[in-house]
C-alpha cells in the first residue's frame, strides 16, 4: 500500500475527510476521557449534544461562538492572501482597550452614538495593533508571523498595566475598569445573554463570503495567496492586497474585542485575555479559510466549550478536556486535509501478460 498524488479531487472527498477526522478525534479522546473517570459516550454527548438540547444552552453556544467569529474571520482573511497574522489575540485585546478608552472618556453618550463610536474605536484599536507588523512586512519584508505573534504578550501586558494603573476600578480597587455607561451596552437578543455583536459577526461572515466567492477582489485575494509571483505577473498588486488585508484583519479582531466588552462584560477585565485570538487561528484553519467554514467551526467550538462546562459539572471531567477535544480535532482535520490530495493504492500489479523468455 502506498500514497499516490491525486490528479483531481472528487467532490465527496472533503466531506469524507472531515468525517474521518471526527471519527479519529472521538477515538483518540476516548482514552483520556476514560482515564479521567468518565464514560466516553456520555462525555461526547455532554460536549456536543447537551448544549444544544435547551434554549438556554443554545444561547450560551451562540454567545461563546461570537468572539470566535470575529477572530476566525480576521485570521481567515489574512491567511487567504498569504499574510500569516498570528496576532489576532493582541489585536482583539487592543480593540477592547480602545473601546474601553472611548467608553471611559465619554461615559454619558446615548446608545445611538456610543455603540457606533465604541465599535469603530475597537476596530481602529485592532488596526493600530496590526499596523506595525504589516508596515514592517511591506517596507522591510520582515516576517509577520514573528512580529504579530510577539506583539500578543505585549498587548496582554498593556492590558494588565492599564487595569492595574490608570483604569483600576475606582469603586472596588480591583484590577477591572469601571463599568461602562448604559449607552455602551449592545442590545441583548432573544431575552438571553446573546448580544447584537453576534449579528455584526454574522453580517461580516456574509459580506466576507460574498466578497471572497463572487467578486473580482475575492479572485485576486485568492490568487495572491496561492501563487504570489503569478498573481503579481497578472497585475494583481500582491503586496498592497496583503497590506490592506492585514489591516482589515486587525480591524476585525479589534471589532471582536469591542463586541466582547460592549456585549458581555460591560467593563474591561483581565479575563478577556482568554485566547480568543489564538482560537481564531484554529477556527480559520479548521474552516478552510472560508467565511462559511469559520461560522460552522466557531459554532462547533462554542458548542464544545459550553459542553465542557456542563461535563465538568455533571461528570467531574476537568474543563480542560474540552480544549483537548478541540485540539485533537484540529490535528486530525489538518492531517485528513493533507491526505485528501493523495489516494491509497495497493502495490502496482505486475505485468498482466505472461513474459516470454
Amino acid at each position: 500500500m502506498r500514497f499516490v498524488l491525486r490528479g483531481r479531487e472528487p467532490r465527496w472527498l472533503a466531506a469524507a475527510a472531515a468525517g474521518l477526522a471526527v471519527v479519529a478525534t472521538l477515538a483518540l479522546t476516548a482514552g483520556p476521557i476514560r482515564l479521567a473517570g468518565a464514560a466516553p459516550v456520555s462525555a461526547f454527548e455532554r460536549y456536543v449534544v447537551s448544549p444544544l438540547s435547551t434554549g438556554n444552552g443554545i444561547a450560551e453556544v451562540l454567545l461563546a461562538a461570537t468572539p470566535l467569529l470575529f477572530t476566525g474571520l480576521a485570521v481567515a482573511i489574512a491567511f487567504r492572501v498569504g499574510y500569516y497574522n498570528i496576532g489576532a489575540e493582541g489585536q482583539f485585546l487592543v480593540g477592547a482597550m480602545a473601546t474601553t478608552a472611548v467608553a471611559l472618556a465619554l461615559p454619558d453618550l446615548p446608545a445611538a452614538a456610543a455603540l457606533p463610536l465604541g465599535l469603530v474605536g475597537g476596530a481602529l484599536g485592532g488596526v493600530a495593533w496590526a499596523f506595525l507588523p504589516a508596515f514592517l512586512r511591506r517596507r522591510a519584508g520582515i516576517d509577520e508571523v514573528v512580529t504579530t505573534l510577539l506583539l500578543n504578550p505585549v498587548a496582554v501586558l498593556l492590558l494588565q498595566g492599564m487595569l492595574n494603573g490608570p483604569w483600576r476600578n475606582p469603586d472596588t480597587g480591583f484590577p477591572d475598569s469601571a463599568t461602562f455607561g448604559v449607552g455602551y451596552r449592545l442590545p441583548e437578543l432573544f431575552g438571553s445573554r446573546v448580544h447584537a455583536g453576534l449579528l455584526v459577526g454574522l453580517v461580516l461572515v456574509a459580506v466576507t463570503a460574498v466578497v471572497m466567492s463572487a467578486t473580482p477582489l475575492g479572485v485576486r485575494l485568492r490568487a495572491a495567496g496561492q501563487s504570489p509571483a503569478a498573481a503579481e505577473f497578472s497585475g494583481v498588486p500582491v503586496g498592497l492586497l496583503q497590506w490592506r488585508s492585514a489591516l482589515v484583519s486587525g480591524g476585525l479582531a479589534g471589532l471582536g474585542g469591542a463586541s466582547q466588552v460592549l456585549g458581555v462584560q460591560h467593563q474591561l477585565t483581565g479575563s478577556l485575555a482568554a485566547g480568543y485570538g489564538y482560537t481564531g487561528v484554529v477556527v480559520a484553519t479548521l474552516g478552510g479559510l472560508s467565511a462559511v467554514g469559520v461560522l460552522a467551526v466557531a459554532l462547533l467550538l462554542g458548542d464544545v466549550q459550553v459542553g465542557a462546562q456542563g461535563a465538568s459539572i455533571a461528570l467531574q471531567l476537568p474543563s480542560q478536556m474540552g480544549g483537548v477535544l478541540t485540539s485533537v480535532l484540529l490535528l486530525t482535520v489538518v492531517a485528513a486535509l493533507s491526505v485528501r490530495h493523495y489516494r491509497l493504492v495497493r502495490r502496482t500489479p505486475r505485468s498482466p501478460r505472461p513474459v516470454e523468455g
Binding site: R2, V4, G7, A214, P216, F233, S234, G235, V236, S351
Partner: protein, 536 residues
C-alpha cells in the same frame, strides 16, 4: 544526415540495456501511455518524439521512478526491476534531466552535486569538487565547480543537471527536451557530449521537438501519439518530413479532433524544415510608423556588471523585432523590466503613447502591453481553473455591479478556448494542462486584449511542431493587425524566420542589429558570442 549507426550485431542478440514492456499509465480518463514497448541498447541514442501531451514526459517519468505505471514492467539488462522513486532509478543506473531544473540557487555547483550524491556523513568538499571536474571532463564541457548556480545561465544550469545525473553509476541518461533551452552553440556542445557518453557505452533517451536534431543525433526514433507508440524505427534514412507526418498523424483519419489547419501548417513547416525557418513575407517596415514599444537608455544595476546596460530599441507598429543572444545575457532581465516585475535603475519604457516606466503591471496591461514569458507555470495561478486564469488580468471587465459574473467569465473562457483551440474545459484546473495548452491559455489571455505591443520570451520553448506553428501564426497575425512584437528567443531559426529585424543582446548590451532578410545564423552567432568592439 544520420551519422554512424551502431550496427553491432552481437548486441542485438543480448538483452537490451533497458526494456519497457507494456507500460500503461492512466490519469483519470486520459490514457497517457498505452501498452508501450520500447527498448534501448548500450551506446544507443533513442529519440522520443511526439506532440505535447503525447505521453513522452509520462513515459520518461515512469522510467525514472517519478511516477509508476499502472501496468507493464521495466527490465534492465533482462532483469525486471521495480522503481518507486528516483533513488531506485539511480541505483539501477538511470539518470534523468527533467525540463524543470532541481538545483538549489544560492549554492555552488559542487554543493548542489554533493546534495544529490552523497549520503549522510562527513562532507568531503575537496573530493566532491574533484568529482565535478572529472565529470565535466567526461562531458567534454568545462563547468566551474565553484560558481553559484543562480548566477548561471539556463544552459549552464542544464550542464550541472547533466553532471548530477552522471555522478552515480549512470548507464542510461534520460534528457527531457534538453535543447529547448539551448542556443545553437550549446546544442552542438551537448550533442558532442552525448556522443562522448554513448561512445563509452552509455545509452541516451532523448526527447525533442526539433526534428533536424533528431535526425542528426538519434540511432532510433520512437514516435508517440496520444499515448500510443505509433512508430519505432531506425533513424537511418528517415527525413524530417516523414517524422513530422508520423508525429501529427496527418496520414491517418484518426485525428479528427486535430483541426485541419494545424495539421496543414505542421506539414507545411515540416516540408520546409531541415533547419530552415518559417518563411516571412514582410518587407522592411516603414520607419514612419508609430512606435509600439520604445525603450530608451534602459539599465539595470547588477553585481559585478550591470545586468542591462543602456539598452535602447524601438518596435514599430506592424513589426516583429527579434532579440537574439546567448542565454543569460540580459534577456530575462529585459523581459522582466518591460513587464514591470523588475524596477529599472535608469531609462524609460514607452508603450504606444504612454510612458510606463514607473507603472505597475496592471497599468502596463492597460497601456497595451501583452506578455508571454518563458516561465509558463510561473505565469498562471496553478491552483485555479483555466477560466479564472484567463480572466485574472482583467477581472473588472467581467463585473456586474460589484460582482464577478460567472456566466460572462464562462462565456468569455469558452470563446477563447474555441478561438485558440485550447484543449481543456473552462473549469479544469490549469495545472492539469500540458505545456502547449498552457501556452495557448497565456497566448489567449495576452492577445485577447489586442495589445499595442506583445513582449514574447521563448514563446515556443518546449512546444511541439503543431503548437510552434500555431504560435508563429498568432504572432504574424498580430503583426499584420498592426501591433508590435518583441520576440526574445534563443532559437535563431525562429528569429530569422519570423522577425523583421533582429537585435542582439550580449552582456546586457545591445551589440548589433540586422534585418532578418540579411541575417544568417553565422552572422548572428558572431554578434551573440561577440566581441563588443565589433558592434555598432
Amino acid at each position: 544526415m544520420a551519422a554512424a549507426r551502431s550496427g553491432d550485431v552481437s548486441s542485438l542478440r543480448a538483452a537490451p540495456l533497458v526494456e519497457l514492456r507494456g507500460i500503461t499509465k492512466r490519469f483519470g480518463s486520459l490514457l497517457a501511455n498505452d501498452a508501450i514497448d520500447l527498448s534501448v541498447d548500450a551506446g544507443q541514442v533513442l529519440a522520443l518524439l511526439g506532440e505535447n501531451g503525447a505521453g513522452k514526459s509520462t513515459l520518461t517519468r515512469i522510467l525514472y521512478g517519478l511516477s509508476r505505471a499502472d501496468a507493464g514492467e521495466i527490465r534492465i539488462a533482462g532483469k525486471p526491476v521495480t522503481m518507486t522513486s528516483p533513488a531506485d532509478a539511480l541505483a539501477a543506473g538511470i539518470g534523468m534531466v527533467t525540463q524543470e531544473f532541481t538545483l538549489v540557487g544560492p549554492m555552488t555547483v559542487t554543493e548542489n552535486l554533493m546534495l544529490a550524491g552523497s549520503p549522510l556523513g562527513r562532507v568531503d568538499r575537496k573530493a566532491a569538487r574533484a568529482r565535478v571536474l572529472a565529470a565535466s571532463e567526461r562531458l567534454g564541457v568545462p563547468v566551474d565547480p565553484d560558481a553559484v548556480v543562480e548566477r548561471l545561465s539556463v544552459g549552464e544550469r542544464q550542464r550541472v543537471e547533466i553532471l548530477k545525473a552522471l555522478l552515480g553509476d549512470c548507464r542510461l541518461l534520460v534528457l527531457d527536451e534538453p535543447t529547448a533551452v539551448l542556443v545553437p552553440a550549446d546544442v552542438d556542445l551537448l550533442f558532442a557530449s552525448i556522443r562522448r557518453l554513448t561512445a563509452e557505452g552509455m545509452a541516451v533517451v532523448f526527447i525533442s521537438h526539433k526534428l533536424h536534431e533528431v535526425v542528426d543525433l538519434a540511432d532510433r526514433i520512437g514516435v508517440l501519439r496520444r499515448g500510443r507508440l505509433v512508430a519505432d524505427l531506425p533513424a537511418e534514412g528517415l527525413d524530417p518530413v516523414a517524422i513530422a507526418a508520423l508525429m501529427v498523424g496527418a496520414a491517418g483519419p484518426a485525428d479528427a479532433d486535430l483541426p485541419d489547419d494545424v495539421v496543414d501548417e505542421a506539414l507545411a513547416t515540416a516540408v520546409g524544415l531541415d533547419g530552415a525557418a518559417p518563411s516571412t513575407q514582410a518587407g522592411p517596415v516603414d520607419q514612419g510608423r508609430p512606435a509600439a514599444l520604445q525603450v530608451t537608455g534602459l539599465s539595470l544595476a547588477g553585481d559585478p556588471r550591470p545586468r542591462l546596460d543602456d539598452v535602447s530599441l524601438t518596435v514599430r507598429a506592424g513589426e516583429i523585432v527579434g532579440v537574439a543572444g546567448v542565454s543569460g545575457n540580459g534577456q530575462t532581465e529585459l523581459v522582466a523590466a518591460l513587464c514591470g516585475t523588475t524596477p529599472v535603475t535608469t531609462g524609460t519604457v514607452r508603450v504606444g503613447d504612454a510612458e510606463v516606466t514607473g507603472l505597475d503591471v496592471a497599468a502596463r496591461l492597460r497601456a497595451g502591453l501583452g506578455r508571454l514569458t518563458e516561465d509558463r507555470r510561473g505565469s498562471v495561478v496553478l491552483g485555479m481553473s483555466v477560466e479564472q486564469n484567463l480572466v485574472l488580468e482583467d477581472l473588472d471587465r467581467f463585473r456586474t455591479g460589484p460582482f464577478l459574473s460567472r456566466r460572462r467569465v464562462r462565456a468569455h473562457a469558452e470563446a477563447l478556448i474555441e478561438r485558440f483551440d485550447i484543449r481543456a474545459a473552462p473549469g479544469d484546473p490549469i495545472r492539469s494542462l500540458s505545456g502547449g495548452n498552457m501556452q495557448k491559455v497565456l497566448l489567449a489571455r495576452a492577445l485577447e486584449r489586442d495589445p499595442t505591443v506583445l513582449v514574447a520570451s521563448q514563446p515556443t520553448r518546449g512546444l511541439d511542431v503543431g503548437a510552434c506553428q500555431y504560435v508563429y501564426a498568432q504572432l504574424r497575425a498580430l503583426r499584420d493587425a498592426g501591433s508590435g512584437v518583441l520576440l526574445v528567443s534563443e532559437d535563431l531559426d525562429e528569429l530569422i524566420g519570423i522577425a523583421d529585424r533582429i537585435v542582439v543582446l550580449s552582456g546586457g548590451r545591445l551589440v548589433g542589429e540586422v534585418a532578418a532578410a540579411d541575417a544568417t545564423r553565422e552572422a548572428l552567432g558572431v554578434l551573440m558570442t561577440g566581441s563588443r568592439e565589433h558592434a555598432a
